[in-house]
């Protein structure tokens, strides 16, 4: 065969029969594949959107929603729009307010307005309700005089400032309250009154308790996972059943079982007294101890499973290699085996920690008031006081804290993980 043609020069790719460039055909072929992939995840994506993202998103908007004044006193607010705010407004504003309050009278709207204004200044609830009772006004009398006659507070600047302030469609009020902050009469963000400052403490407590539970799970789960990874399959399967056993009963049943075990007349206390370790029953329930015990018990499998799966993938030959290189057994374990389990520790720790952060039923049943975590207050505002704004704001804080944590994890444990696992 003769090869007289110079093949070293780049030859442009010839267009195929229909003249379509190669790149375009490649894109077309890939588009078809991408559509197929899209179709495969579409059902799940829809479910996530409808059952997860949309409800959570709409709930979170409740945390900044502020409809009471905005929806019920639109004309008053329209008049106040041009108001300079340095002195009580003119007659038009009084008239609009009187008309709108009269219209709202007898409907739930008046209660909503009263409740909302009361949050700006305690005492405005009775002001609104008292005024509403005496409405509507005589059209002949100027509204200003009539309202001031009902209550002198209508003549004060602060009252109108409060209405103006509460009139926005959105409010940071709940979110600020969720981090123990409030807006004062001047519109500045200040620390909330001392007796209302609880949520930062609750959030810190939530973090702290989650951390303790995670550390306990790690301390208890690591040796178990290590044992399972080093045993023969038959024995490790047996252990695995014991690890998974708690999953077969409901959380509620397990919590109830702990109550039976840990109560003053329970098995644990009787055993301790029988052994002579204590004279009177120890308080094991309705305090931190009981909550920790039950939460560690419930969450342990979530630590063991990721650890086990990572450890199972670590060949025992690494330890042998370390020994052959002159490294004593414990140091070999620490320097060679342990670092390779870090992805498992990270995954298990993150899983347990995040689950702890949202834990509700166990502290609610086994803990005292000092053990309640953030989700207890979310449930409290949702079920007891029907304060959806506060519930949504606390949820937002919890969600933000969790996401922040995940980002920290991805930043500090993710890359090292990627660095040496990438090429696997």
């Amino acid at each position: 065969m003769s090869t007289a043609v110079d093949t070293s020069a780049a030859v442009p790719l010839p267009a195929e029969g229909d003249g379509t460039p190669l790149k375009k055909r490649l894109r077309r072929a890939e588009r078809r594949r991408n559509l197929l992939f899209g179709a495969l995840i579409l059902p799940l994506a829809l479910v996530v959107l409808v059952a997860f993202i949309w409800p959570i998103g709409s709930l979170l908007t409740i945390g900044v929603d502020n409809p009471e004044i905005h929806d019920n006193l639109p004309r008053t607010l329209a008049v106040l729009e041009d108001w300079n705010g340095s002195a009580p407004p003119d007659e038009a504003a009084f008239r609009a307010l009187a008309d709108e309050l009269a219209a709202a009278k007898g409907s739930p709207a008046i209660a909503a307005i009263a409740k909302r204004l009361n949050r700006e200044n305690a005492g405005y609830r009775s002001l609104v309700m008292k005024t509403a009772r005496k409405l509507p006004l005589d059209a002949a009398v100027p509204a200003r005089e009539a309202l001031v006659a009902i209550d002198a507070q209508w003549g004060e600047l602060a009252t109108w400032q409060a209405i103006h302030r509460a009139g926005g469609a959105l409010t940071p009020f709940y979110l600020l309250a969720a981090i123990d902050r409030a807006i004062d009469a001047d519109g500045d963000i200040v620390a909330a009154p001392e007796d209302e400052r609880i949520y930062v403490d609750v959030l810190l407590r939530t973090f702290w308790m989650s951390l303790i539970v995670t550390v306990c799970c790690l301390a208890l789960g690591f040796p178990v996972a290590y044992l399972m990874a080093s045993l023969s399959t038959r024995h490790s399967n047996m252990l695995m059943i014991f690890v998974l056993l708690p999953f077969w009963t409901s959380v509620l049943v397990r919590v109830a079982a702990w109550i039976v075990l840990l109560q003053n007349e329970g098995l644990v206390n009787r055993l301790l007294m029988w052994l002579g370790l204590t004279d009177s029953p120890l308080q094991l329930l309705f305090n931190r101890f009981g909550v920790y015990v039950a939460m560690v018990h419930i969450l342990l499998p979530f630590m063991v499973l990721p650890l086990y799966s990572v450890m199972k993938g670590i060949s025992p030959v690494y330890m042998r290699a370390a020994l052959s290189l002159g490294c004593p057994p414990f140091r070999s374990f620490w320097k060679i085996y342990f670092p390779q389990t870090l992805p498992g520790i990270g995954a298990g720790g993150l899983l347990v920690f995040i689950m702890c952060m949202g834990y509700y039923i166990t502290p609610a049943l086994l803990g005292g008031p000092k053990e309640q975590m953030l989700s207890y207050f979310i449930a409290f505002y949702t079920n007891q006081t029907i304060n959806w704004g506060m519930a949504a704001a606390l949820s937002a804080v919890l969600l933000a804290a969790t996401l922040l944590l995940y980002m920290v994890y991805a930043r500090y444990l993710g890359p090292t993980r990627v660095k040496y696992m990438k090429a696997r």
């Binding site: 690494y318 020994l323 052959s324 290189l325 390779q340 090292t416 040496y420 090429a423 696997r424």
Partner: protein, 368 residues
């Protein structure tokens, strides 16, 4: 090398070493083996023959059930592996995945608490030895199989052990790379003057690299010899079959005269052969290498046999003939192209000669 050691004394010696895992079967039966200082010894055998177990006992990862292992004259049965100062290259390299290449090499030096500049100098030297100077900051997974293999070798050598064990280190490489690495490892071993114990089941690898080869089967060393002696003078049928290609013809020993004996094949022909592990009157298996079979015209006086050509296989540098001979259908002859009558066709009758010097009467292995 440390001068204090008597170069005549064995570097490692196994004395009556036994090993069993289940208390019923002995993986290693009764091992007696002296490994000379500075030699390249290969433990060769099929899987399950006990060769890897021997290596692991020497490394300290397995404890002998009986007998003793001496290193430089000291019994090391109870010395833990990390105190033995033996380098080891593992089958799948066992490079630490969470450390860079350089950190992998630093590891044994830091464990030994060497000064930082000494550590760096040695790491650099070791990387240079395997020609991977530029790869210190990579992670093992970013290297090719051959590069990982070299790093594993460098790591086993970086702390200057006098004895290095290798457990099928080339098994995962492709053929070309494997052959190159065989020579490379051999040269490094010769330059450093270290003792290497190498485990493989690949006989050509063993022949290429070794000063001596110990052939294992069923937990017993069948023969230990230099590659050439092992190939040319196998002492039993297992070794003859395991190393290289072998033609076998069964018969009975009719007479033994010193180094040679006469064997009557089952077809009636009497052949003269070198006496192996057989005695007069016993069954014997004639072993002859395909390339030692002479084609008509050469070697007058040798054993002569009639054969029928069944198949000719052209291999470029040589031709393989499958012939029918002495009632046996699978008898192979290798001949250089230049020496072969190219007019041969399947079905042709030829005469072949078996030189008694290269024909051995060995045992008939028990059927398994």
């Amino acid at each position: 090398m440390e001068a204090v050691h008597n170069s005549q004394a064995p570097h490692v010696s196994f004395r009556n070493v036994q090993k069993t895992y289940d208390g019923e079967t002995l993986i290693v039966r009764d091992l007696n083996l002296d490994i000379r200082r500075g030699e390249f010894l290969t433990l060769l055998g099929p899987s399950g023959s006990g060769k890897t177990t021997c290596l692991m006992m020497l490394a300290g990862f397995e404890t002998p059930t009986g007998g003793e292992i001496r290193l430089d004259g000291e019994v090391i049965n109870r010395v833990p592996p990390y105190r033995r100062n033996i380098g080891m290259v593992f089958q799948n390299y066992a490079l630490f995945p969470h450390m860079t290449v350089a950190d992998n090499l630093r590891f044994p030096l830091r464990v030994r608490k060497l000064a930082a500049n000494e550590v760096e100098a040695r790491v650099k030297r070791a990387l240079g030895m395997v020609q991977l100077e530029a790869f210190g900051n990579r992670y093992p997974q970013q290297l090719s199989g051959g590069q990982q293999q070299r790093i594993a070798l460098a790591r086993a050598l970086v702390f200057d052990p006098q004895l290095v064990l290798m457990d099928e280190p080339l098994g995962a490489l492709d053929k070309n790379l494997r052959e190159r690495m065989q020579l490379e490892i051999k040269h490094i071993q010769q330059n450093l003057g270290i003792t290497v114990v190498f485990v493989t089941h690949d006989q050509s690898e063993a022949l290429t690299m070794s000063d001596r080869i110990a052939v294992f089967n069923h937990g017993v060393i069948q023969q230990i010899d230099a590659p050439e002696a092992l190939y040319e003078y196998p002492t039993n049928s297992f070794v003859a079959d395991f190393i290289g290609e072998n033609n076998a013809l069964d018969g009975t020993v009719v007479a033994v005269a010193g180094e040679e004996c006469d064997v009557r094949l089952d077809c009636g022909t009497v052949l003269r052969a070198r006496t192996g592990n057989v005695g007069a009157g016993g069954r014997a298996r004639i072993a002859v290498r395909p390339e030692r079979v002479q084609l008509a015209g050469e070697g007058e006086g040798a054993n002569r046999l009639d054969a029928t050509v069944r198949e000719l296989i052209y291999l470029g540098d040589q031709i393989r003939l499958r012939v029918e001979l002495a009632g046996k259908h699978e008898f192979t002859i290798k001949a250089p192209i230049s020496q072969l009558d190219r007019s041969l066709r399947p079905g042709d009758a030829i005469r072949v000669g078996l030189d008694p010097a290269h024909t051995r009467a060995l045992d008939v292995p028990a059927a398994h």
